[in-house]
Amino acid sequence: MTRLALLAVLLNSGGAAVARTPALHVESVHRLTFGSGLAQLGRERPSEGSAEGPASLVVDGSGRVFVLDQVNRRLLVLTRGASPWTVALPDRPFRDVTLDGSGGFWLLDAIGDTVVRLDAAGHEMSRLTLAGPLLDHAMHVTSLHRADDGLYVEIMWLYTVKIGDVQGQALVERSALPGRPVGPRGSLRAALAGRAPTNAVNLTLHPAGRAPHRVARLDFDDRVMRLDFAGLDHAGAWVAVRLGREDATPSGDFEVTRDREVIVALEPNGVERARTTLPRTWLPDDQPHPVTLGGDGALWALFLDEAGGTVWRVSR
């Protein structure tokens, strides 16, 4: 059963099948420092350029974490209780990574107008061109999504375009979905409720062939500076937002401040099940995908601070 179908079934049953557990389980799984060593994360802070750390991460069903450590031109593979290992990457400015379902990876190079498929050893297997029907500007691609029916790319956090089939072959005719795919029959769109910064997030489900409807509106006690993640899993939905204060340093050198990441778990009917807060450091690094939904059903996050990064796991 797809996630969307499950959601629909549970919506119809009012979510009664889901037992309420008020708290979320949070654990710090990995701690890494900056550097180019085996168990380190690359970070680059040019004197007149954007600070860059790890751009993205993906987690498989066993809890293996693949960090896109593009500064070090590699995937850093972290396994609980085991030594990390790496997969070397081509010298490209990758911005996102996802698993291909066959032990390999898809990597997004929006600057290079390409999606590259690598095997588990990092050998290039194929590539797709981004620009084409429904996608004028490759640089506007913000993320990669592999669904049951093919490969999608997200445009400007607004909609997704299906560019490849399940085998990774380019599609002659592309199709678009509002938000991100959540199964073959629909998509989920998440966005700030109004012009940023705002205090709320809206989740809207777009079932295929039916009118969209809002699943939830989440309100927060501070401004949502960034919507880091929103997605469905077998038990409902996850939302991760970074809350912050505007203009901490309106004039003068940047100052590191403490901030918060709020993780919210929703039941299938859209009712909030629980939320938790993680410490977050306010850095200028452009880190487009710090949070992801793991194949194990937990929400995973890689948050940076001035010394390195911490991999968090949040589960119901």
């Binding site: 680059e44 040019p46 007149e48 350029g49 910064p197 919507l227 203009d247 901490a248 200028p284």
Partner: protein, 560 residues
């Protein structure tokens, strides 16, 4: 060495730096920023070209340390290098400290470390108030970044133009702005007016067409002056018969080329629509029978009698009852001959009753067929035993229902008056012993009795009677027609021709001819009345009068 030179460049301000930069617009800033997209990151550089060629290449000198530990190289086959770093891009886009071509490779004096501080050329603003063309900047310990802000993205990121780094070059797209502060260029003109019509671009509904009035008929945000379909009705202005009024159907009733919705006289009848009682049906006469404000030409019930014209037997005259006496399909209200008798209503003495002969016994305004008192004797027809013969007394000697004045057999003895030798006394045997023409039973009146008999009662044999009858009939009957004497009617007695000669045999009377009036006599066969004797001999008249007197006396006696 190269880095050191650039640092020197960054910190040395031109001696001629003006107090304020030249005015710019947000569009101009974005237009320059767009030129950078796709070019390489060039630490310390800032130049592009319009063609997007020779983008250059950034080559890091070490892994993970970032620029300035990097080199910049021209693209293959290009003699000139293009590219920029982050502050170089902002300097160029903001044209600071002064105007400079995008192709001129000069970074400008300002770095992120400059922009993080205060300056007359820019000011700090809140990030949430950022607008396109503003910039965001961070700086910390000699490192920093900045970009040109374009908009906010759906997830809270910003969409920016930036020269990001050696690996990324100068992209355009969403990115985070955590820890960044916003800056706004000074002398930023919010009011560019390309067409000089006094309305600034962005607010001008025709940026490049002079339209001071900003008229926008269809409210589509595009002024009429530059809108090819002013009224947004799907018909291009050049073909629209009302180009500023929505009229998809293009209805033009009078075919004058001007659609109805904008035509002050839709039907072209020379009566303005606002005064036309049928705006879309030509009716110059404005006829409006029922005065309901809707002209007949466009009304389904002209006379307002609630009967549709199509089924109204008087469409122009109110006649809710639809009365049609003669059933000719033309209602009485509009029928000049309501009863269809061939006499027009205005001349018809019975307009609602058929009477082609216009018979009017009593000569009043109403014909007999519609006159409740046809003979004008004061007795309504219903109670008048001679409705067409004036007889106010309504006497009926033989009480047979026919008034005496119209009863052809007054005494009811079966002998018509004219042949009866005693019309007031029932004497069916007509016994006339002396043969004087007056029955034996007939009373004498005004004749002195010669034999002692009551001359008033009977005519016995041997009585002396001065005949006044047939032997010497008067030349003219009396009274004359047209007499105004009381009790005389012009209708009941008219000049008669020769009276019939009656033979008085004494025992029987035989009329030479049946008695009947000559000329117009107010009788009606339907009345049941017999003709009044006309041209009778004087004696007969006298007898008649005597009889009537006798009857009256008897009635009076009986009443008493």
């Amino acid at each position: 060495m190269r880095a050191a030179l650039l640092v020197v460049l960054f910190v040395v301000l031109p001696a001629t730096a003006p107090a304020a930069p030249e005015k710019m617009t947000r569009d101009q800033i974005i237009a320059i920023a767009k030129k950078s997209v796709g070019f390489s990151y060039w630490w310390g550089g800032s130049c592009f070209n319009d063609q997007g060629t020779c983008k250059g290449k950034c080559v890091p000198n070490c892994g993970g340390c970032g620029c300035p530990s990097c080199d910049h190289q021209p693209s293959s086959g290009c003699s000139k290098e293009y590219g920029a770093d982050c502050s170089g891009l902002v300097n160029k886009a903001w044209q600071l400290p002064g105007p400079i071509a995008i192709t001129t490779c000069s970074h400008g004096p300002y770095t992120t470390g400059s922009y993080i501080g205060a300056h007359a050329y820019w000011s700090a603003i809140s990030t949430s108030s950022s607008k396109r063309g503003d910039a965001m900047v961070y700086h910390k310990n000699g490192a920093g970044h900045m970009f040109v802000f374009e908009s906010f993205a759906a997830n809270g990121d910003v969409v920016a133009y930036e020269c990001k780094g050696c690996s990324y070059g100068c992209p355009h797209g969403p990115r985070g702005y955590s820890g960044y502060s916003a800056r706004r260029r000074s002398q930023l003109s919010e009011t560019v007016d390309t067409d000089g019509d006094g309305v600034e671009d962005g607010k001008d509904n025709c940026d490049t067409t002079d339209n001071k009035t900003q008229t926008d008929t269809d409210k589509d945000g595009k002024g009429d002056a530059c809108d090819t379909d002013d009224d947004n009705d799907g018909v291009a202005d050049t073909k629209d018969n009302c180009d500023t009024t929505d009229n998809k159907t293009q209805v033009d009733t009078d075919k004058d080329g001007k659609g109805d919705v904008c035509d002050s006289d839709d039907d072209g009848d020379a009566v303005a629509d606002d005064k036309d009682n049928c705006p879309t049906v030509a009716n110059p006469d404005q006829a409006d029978t029922d005065k309901d404000g809707k002209g007949n030409a466009c009304e389904t019930d002209d006379d307002g009698d609630a009967v549709p014209d199509a089924s109204d037997n008087c469409a122009q005259l109110k006649n809710a009852d639809q009365k049609d006496t003669d059933k000719d399909g033309k209602g009485d209200a509009c029928d000049t001959d309501q009863d269809g008798d061939g006499v027009l209503n205005e001349k018809d003495n019975c307009a609602e009753s058929v009477n082609a002969d216009q018979k009017n016994t009593d000569g009043d305004a109403q014909g007999d067929v519609c006159d409740d008192d046809a003979d004008g004797d004061g007795v309504p027809n219903d109670g008048d035993n001679c409705p067409t013969v004036s007889d106010a007394e309504v006497t009926d000697l033989d009480e047979d229902g026919l008034g005496d004045v119209c009863d052809p057999d007054l005494d009811g003895d079966g002998i018509p008056n004219a042949a009866d030798n005693c019309p007031f006394v029932k004497n069916a045997d007509q016994l006339d012993t002396d043969g004087d023409g007056r029955g034996d039973d007939c009373p004498l009146l005004d004749v002195p009795p010669a034999d002692g008999d009551d001359p008033h009662l009977t005519d016995t044999p041997g009585d002396t009677v001065t005949p006044t009858g047939p032997e010497s009939p008067p030349a003219e009957p009396t009274p004359e027609a047209g007499s105004s004497e009381p009790g005389a009617s012009t209708a009941e007695v008219v000049p008669a021709a020769e009276a019939p000669v009656t033979a008085d045999t004494g025992n029987s009377v035989t009329a030479a001819e049946p008695f009947e009036p000559a000329g117009a006599v107010a009788t009606s066969s339907s009345s049941g009345c017999a003709p009044t004797p006309q041209g009778a001999p004087v004696w007969w008249t006298l007898v008649m009068l005597a009889g009537l007197a006798l009857v009256a006396r008897r009635r009076a006696t009986s009443r008493s």
